[in-house]
Amino acid sequence: MTEILGKKLGMTQVIGEDGKMCPVTVVAAGPCCVIQVKTRENDGYEAIKVGFSEIKKVKNVNKPMTGVFSKANSKPYRILREFHMSDLKTGEMITVERFSKGDIVTVSGISKGKGFQGVMKRHNYAGGPGSHGSMFNRAPGSIGASSYPSRVWKNKGMPGHMGSERVTVKNLKIIDVRAEQNVLLILGAVPGAKGTYLEIRKEK
């Protein structure tokens, strides 16, 4: 598995190889520095810890985190994640060059927050008729039966907070890799607003 951390910059349209317009998301991905290599002997599992989005002002890094970065002899980073990648050493950089045109990737990120939403937007309930004197417009309706079960079933869709949760989108194609700018162009939309931190994974 090849993974990289990135930041969503926004969407645009580019011309694909067949001359057709492609909607793409521009992601500034990497370079990610390997901070720590976890081994089965030391930590019980194998993983690498990587950092992304460098913190320019050293005074913004607190003391415990300064220790983490000085141990790895690296610059301080804003985002730390663990990846299941092997044959990497501490201090090595993961760049977009590990990805190539036409790769199929999985992208995870925090979706846009929608606030407190009703059941029609949150759970795709049908709602009621909008007119003809109907007084049942966007309400959820009945939430269950009476004597049995005498309670509301678990996971019953109700109004509540929507969005701002981790969303994964699979089978996205990489249209272009701009290694000198550290940019990936991914076909289609990815979760989150502009500036969202993303994890981009490639199965191998």
């Binding site: 910059l9 645009t12 349209q13 580019v14 011309i15 001359g19 317009m21 700018q181």
Partner: protein, 115 residues
């Protein structure tokens, strides 16, 4: 410049200077099987839309008595080149009003060029 405009810049094309109301000849690349040839399409530019890589223009012509409108993306690789045949003098950005007109009424006044 931010990264998105840098990326869009790489796909932009300059088709030369033509405006709404102009009569243009668009040379379209047509692929038939494994052969490619160039087909001219001549008509009046009745509108432009969008910006950046999304910019497009609409060309209207009368073909065998039937009105035909084609929308071309400016950065489309299937356009070989665009030639301006006539400069038109119009007061509108979208010339949709010529759709309902025929013959002389659909004519667009030619721009007077001062030398």
């Amino acid at each position: 410049m931010d990264m998105i405009s840098v990326i869009e810049e790489g796909f932009k094309r300059d088709l030369g200077d033509f405006n709404i109301g102009d009569t243009v000849k668009v040379f379209v690349k047509v692929t038939e099987g494994d052969k490619q040839r160039i087909q001219p399409y001549q008509g009046v530019v009745i509108g432009k839309k969008g910006g950046g890589t999304r910019e497009s223009f609409m060309v209207r012509k009368i073909s065998f008595g039937v009105g035909v409108e084609r929308i071309f993306p400016v950065c489309s690789p299937s356009i070989d080149r665009v030639e301006v045949i006539k400069r038109g003098s119009v007061r509108r950005a979208k010339l949709y009003y010529i759709r309902g007109r025929k013959g002389k009424a659909a004519k667009i006044k030619e721009k007077e060029t001062r030398y």
